[in-house]
């Protein structure tokens, strides 16, 4: 009996994991995908993917692009995400501080945590003057090529750090992998010297980010905080110098403000 229950549990686990994998393959982006592209991204058999997309269609997590055999994300996950954000006191408490920093520096401010080899934005505020770089809460950015990712990596214990860097590199070509390692190490040196790291073109072209790690709540949960902006002509070093003091100050305040929370995100 117990065995039967656990078998049933593991079948459920596999099915649900596959379904969520298909949904996550959209990476929170608006771009539409075909079943074939989803097969490529998830590595799941075609028949499995098409049953899962048809389920997601019926539950309104996906919709069909009119006139095409392509899917895009629909309103299904809206309520789930909102429920998470609205009931998370720690993130709510962080909002005013982030907005203040965004307005002061005319940048966007993001709070991110690890999601596999990516960074997931759990908080995001944008200065009213920033017109571009519209990445919001729920955005998923590559850890290996962004300032917010590098700052997160830097704060990890050495073994975990190495493992995650290698994992990031595994998804690149050999040539890219060397450049990736180099840019991560350069950020680490910056973090040691200045307490922040600045990275250009990390995710969107012609944008930059300046980031540092923070630890919040009683559990000391590791997060990463960044300021970002679109940049047409700019000197990254001087931007780093402009942003670093205010960012460090805000990070200190945030850690102090969130110190007494249970610390779970």
């Amino acid at each position: 009996m117990a065995r039967k229950t656990s078998e049933r549990g593991s079948v459920t686990l596999m099915t649900v994991e596959r379904g969520l994998k298909v949904l996550r393959a959209f990476r929170s982006e608006r771009a539409s995908l075909t079943n074939a592209e989803l097969v490529r991204r998830t590595g799941l058999p075609k028949a499995v993917v098409s049953r899962l997309t048809s389920t997601l269609l019926q539950l309104d997590f996906l919709r069909l692009v009119p006139g095409k055999r392509e899917f895009e994300l629909s309103a299904g996950a809206l309520g789930i995400g909102h429920a998470y954000l609205a009931t998370n006191e720690m993130l709510q408490t962080a909002q005013p501080l982030m907005l203040e920093l965004a307005d002061r520096l005319d940048v966007s401010v993001a709070l991110g945590i690890q999601d596999g080899i990516d960074i997931l934005y759990v908080g995001y505020r944008v200065s009213r003057k920033v017109a571009t770089l519209r990445l919001g809460v729920g955005s998923i950015l590559p850890m290996g090529t962004t300032s917010i990712g590098h700052a997160y990596l830097w704060a990890l214990p050495p073994a975990q750090q190495r493992q995650l860097i290698d994992e990031c590199k595994r998804w690149t070509t050999k040539a890219q992998s060397g450049a990736l390692e180099q840019s991560i190490q350069a950020s680490f040196t910056e973090l040691e010297n200045f307490g922040v790291c600045a990275v250009m073109d990390g995710f969107q072209r012609r944008t930059y980010g300046v980031a540092l790690p923070i630890r919040v709540g009683r559990q000391g949960v590791l997060m990463s905080m960044s300021c970002g902006k679109a940049a047409v002509k700019l000197d990254l070093q001087s931007e780093r110098a402009r942003i670093a003091p205010a960012l460090k100050e805000a990070a200190k305040q945030l850690e102090a403000t969130l110190h007494d929370f249970d610390g779970y995100l």
């Binding site: 099915t15 996550r24 019926q58």
Partner: protein
């Protein structure tokens, strides 16, 4: 919040015996364990961080043993976390990876938000942007007004019944006729007179939208809020509706029809023409 108008927030999750989920025609069959897992995640609302097995079973319509299997699965996959006493569950940040951003944070949403905020400030009403989700509408953006207590103002993610709210009528009005008829036929109505009443109101509202570009649902006993709504059509976007809401004693027929309705229509025209607010 008035439950008769706001399809109770608990129904943000789809109840599992919802017939629309079990219809196997159209798109083909459903992968049941996956659908159940999503319904457990969808059971969480803005009001409750923690839910127990019992709450989840009630909200999803699933048997307790299934709920247990689902919560275990979702904890193992990192989408739920359980409390220290392991009796209650809350969503994990991974809940944000399932498409939240695409729905909540589009370019258009940004553009529309400016107009809405201005409208809320000028007219002292709450303004919503909503889209259709099956037989409900979902509020995807909201600009509150300080003139009303926050408690009376439904938040983002709130679902209302399409057939009995002004914003729902506006969404229905902007659909092609065949699609609208299909929806109206598949909807569940209250029995007899109440259902007839709803259909009558709906037809009237669609007529009003054709004529004036907006429709009005006046507050009355049992539903003290008035709502005025207008559709927005943007190329390449699912139909949207903007609506404003306030207590019936401040939003009577005259003000709704003469001031707020036309102002909403002007706002939708600006949005449709891609104008920045002044």
């Amino acid at each position: 919040m008035n439950r008769s108008m706001f399809h109770s927030s608990a129904s943000a999750s789809f109840h599992f015996d919802n017939p629309s989920l079990q219809r196997s025609g159209g798109h083909g069959s459903i992968v049941t364990p996956f659908a159940r897992a999503l319904s457990v995640l969808s059971a969480f609302t803005l009001k409750d961080r923690w839910l127990g097995n019992g709450d989840l079973a009630q909200r999803t319509g699933l048997p307790a043993s299934t709920v247990t299997r689902m919560t275990r699965t979702l904890i193992a996959l990192g989408y739920l976390r359980c409390s220290a006493d392991t009796r209650r569950f809350c969503l994990s940040p991974s809940a944000l990876t399932l498409g939240y951003r695409a729905a909540a944070d589009t370019e258009i949403h940004y553009a529309v938000n400016h107009h809405m905020a201005q409208f809320a400030e000028r007219h002292h009403v709450q303004v919503h942007l909503s889209l259709r989700d099956k037989f409900n509408l979902v509020i995807i953006d909201s600009c509150r007004t300080s003139a009303l207590p926050a408690l009376l103002q439904p938040g983002i993610g709130t679902r209302l019944l399409l057939a009995s709210s002004a914003a729902g009528w506006a969404l229905l009005a902007s659909l092609p006729e065949t699609e609208r008829n299909y929806l109206l036929q598949s909807m569940k109505y209250p029995p007899q007179d109440a259902g007839k009443q709803i259909r009558l109101r709906l037809n009237e509202a669609i007529g009003q939208i054709r004529e004036d570009g907006f429709c009005v649902a006046l507050g009355q006993s049992g539903q003290p809020m008035t709502m005025v709504a207008a559709p927005i059509k943007l190329s390449g976007q699912a139909p949207l509706a903007v609506s404003c809401m306030g207590p019936a004693m401040l939003m009577g027929r005259a003000r709704s029809v003469r001031e707020l309705g036309p102002a909403l229509v002007r706002m939708t025209q600006k949005i449709q023409h891609g104008q920045e607010p002044p």
